[in-house]
């Protein structure tokens, strides 16, 4: 697909901005610096791949941006709102409606059916139950699981669970989708299906997606790549710049 279209359609508005973001984990006397000052700007409608080896701070960055964890210092702005300034209740509002989360291990609620999993965030948002059901079914149809809405997570394959998780993340029409290695637990084929859904959400619904990943197929669909190493941004590049360098590796078709 044409990258330039995606970027121009974003109209350059910044949705996420981090300023000198730092995070330290202190366990007993051992201090681990997971992030050592990250400054990143992400625009609306962008599909960003966050790459880096294990332990580089990818997940930490991801959690900071999603308001799932609090930074040691530095700031995260989501649409110019400082996340650190929010109260617990406002943070819940933010997580509920503005951000959708997709995890490596799906994190579905085990005792709820696929549809109930998708409608739970809507229940938290106070959406009318009937409307929530309709919308839930639409979303399940979108990810191709219309027939399996009564199934519980244990009755579904990993790919199906991840698709339910994607439907759930879209429940309250968020502005931002955060994916933490969404394909890492899946085989090649299923992983590709998931990526295809993400690509579709990005291009057809103009979702902003931030995706932490090891998966090189992500190169084909993302707009920009951010490499993180040792808690710092090592490099930021547009896809076309990268594909020229490693064209032979990214040879697989999206």
């Amino acid at each position: 697909m044409n990258v330039s279209i995606a970027i121009t359609s974003a109209k350059g508005r910044v949705i996420i901005r981090t300023v000198n973001l730092k995070k330290m984990y202190i366990k007993k006397d051992v201090v681990t610096e997971a992030l050592r000052g990250v400054d990143v700007e992400i625009l609306t409608g962008e599909f960003i791949s966050l790459m880096g080896p294990s332990g580089s701070g990818k997940s930490t960055f991801f959690n900071m941006v999603g308001g799932l964890d609090s930074p040691t210092s530095g700031r995260v702005f989501i649409d110019e709102v400082d996340v650190a300034q929010l109260t617990a209740v406002e943070l819940a509002f933010l997580r509920c409606r503005k951000i959708g989360y997709i995890f490596q291990s799906y994190n579905l609620i085990q005792y709820l059916t696929a549809l109930e999993n998708v409608t739970t965030p809507m229940a938290f948002a106070g959406v009318d139950p009937d409307e929530a059901r309709t919308r839930g079914m639409e979303l399940l149809t979108l990810v191709g699981l219309k027939e399996r809405w009564t199934h519980r997570p244990i009755e579904m394959s990993g790919g199906q669970q991840q698709r339910v998780a994607i439907a759930r993340s879209m429940a309250n029409r968020p502005s931002l989708l955060l994916c933490d290695e969404p394909t890492a637990n899946l085989d090649l084929k299923t992983g590709r299906e998931i990526l295809e859904i993400l690509r579709m959400l990005n291009q057809e619904r103009n979702m902003t997606i931030l995706c932490a990943t090891h998966d090189h197929r992500m190169l084909d669909i993302c707009d920009r790549l951010i490499w993180i190493r040792d808690g710092r941004v090592e490099r930021i590049a547009r896809r076309d710049e990268v594909q020229i360098e490693i064209g032979s590796i990214g040879g697989e078709k999206a």
Binding site: N63, A92, A125, G126, R168, S175
Partner: protein, 488 residues
Amino acid sequence: MKKIEIRDQPSLGIGKTVSLTLTGIRYRLFRSLVTVGVVAVAMAFLMNVLSESLVRGAVLRATTLRAAELHQAYVWVTKLSDPGMLDSILPMMAAPHAEAVDEAISMAKLPPEDRGFLESRCRQATGYLRFFAALDYGARRQLTRQAQGTAIFDALQSPSAQADFFAKAKEMRSLRLPGGAEAFQKFLIEWPAVKEKLERIRAARAAAIAQLKATLHGRTVMEALAEADGAFGAAIRAAGFRFPEDIARTVAGQARRACEGQSLEAGLLRPAVRRALAGRLDLTLNEVNPLVLWEFLKDRDSASWYLDRLKEAGIPAADLTPERLMALARVQTEEATLAQLLPLQADVEEGETGVQERMLWLILVSMIVCAVGIANAMLMSVTERFREIATLKCLGALDRTIMGMCVIEATILGVTGGAAGALAGTLLGLSRMSAAFGSIALSTMPIGALCLAMAGSVLVGIALAAVAALYPSFKAARLAPMEAMRVE
């Protein structure tokens, strides 16, 4: 694209929270059942201890009452043959039985206005006597020397002894005279008047007893009491005792039984009867005693056989019927059972539940065991769901929704476990007690108190479960989602 604006998140409705929680419980049914089981076992233990002590208390109160009823004849024998001491009249005057006080006042021909004075002073006096009796030996020795009972008040009449007493009482810091030192001083001043009146009561009783003696005509008091519902009863009333008809009838019946029993037991003193009985029961002569006799007399054939033996020996009791003998045997065995139960009274004190200090301690310990067990179960069920809680928080659940879910779950488990445990514990306690005490345990069962205790322990179960779940859920709800996921 729309701009992000941050508002307050609405909280999830109670109904939705409950249904979400219920779905969770149903999914984790086995885990939940284990938790319910822990709560139930703890509650069963608590309720078992409670119900047993309640039943035991009720049984013993009933037996004490029954024993008192059975022994009325003996009580009257004592009353009609001994005027009593000052120290035994004093508590009688302080007791809440108006009858006895009326009797004493009218017998001693005291003016009726003395009654209030006498009653209140006697109550005071018993209070002081109880206080002195409860002191440890050293303190009592210092305060009262050798004096005991009402003699203490007599000894303190002299001013020097009184001054000495109050000085010493002041030195003992922990000593608290009931009502304070001044009240006691005032009481001591009034004591001679009280004592004089009590002496008059005693003298009047002695006179009445002497008057009755004349009507005995060589019989023992017990034998005479067999006619308590007839001429002798009238004589008792004439002597000034309060002896209502209904009590007279009971006493007469009991006295008759006692006399008949004595004459039947007297048969055992005759070698011929004794030998015959020993032969029939296949016992040695030494083993034949009244208890064996009464056990033997329980069936009709044995009773008529024994009557024949008595007739042969020429004992006057032989004109009794076998039925009468059997009835006597029944009463005798009941008395024997009561006599066995009475020592158990040491376990019971006067408190509402009939629970003694040792029992209270046991209940306290069982409560602690309960609390720890329930807390552990709840802690586990919350901590193992940290990941789920974190996920729910990612989806926009408020802290209070999370806590609400945990507390609702704890409450549901607490209600179920508490009710099941309380029921099981009560049933177990009741069956144990009825095995120990027989039918008397069931007939005297304090149903109201038991229900109250059950309701109480169910509430305790719920409260313990809710409180135990509160802390870990509070912790889980307050953690940032990712920190909660990291705890595992």
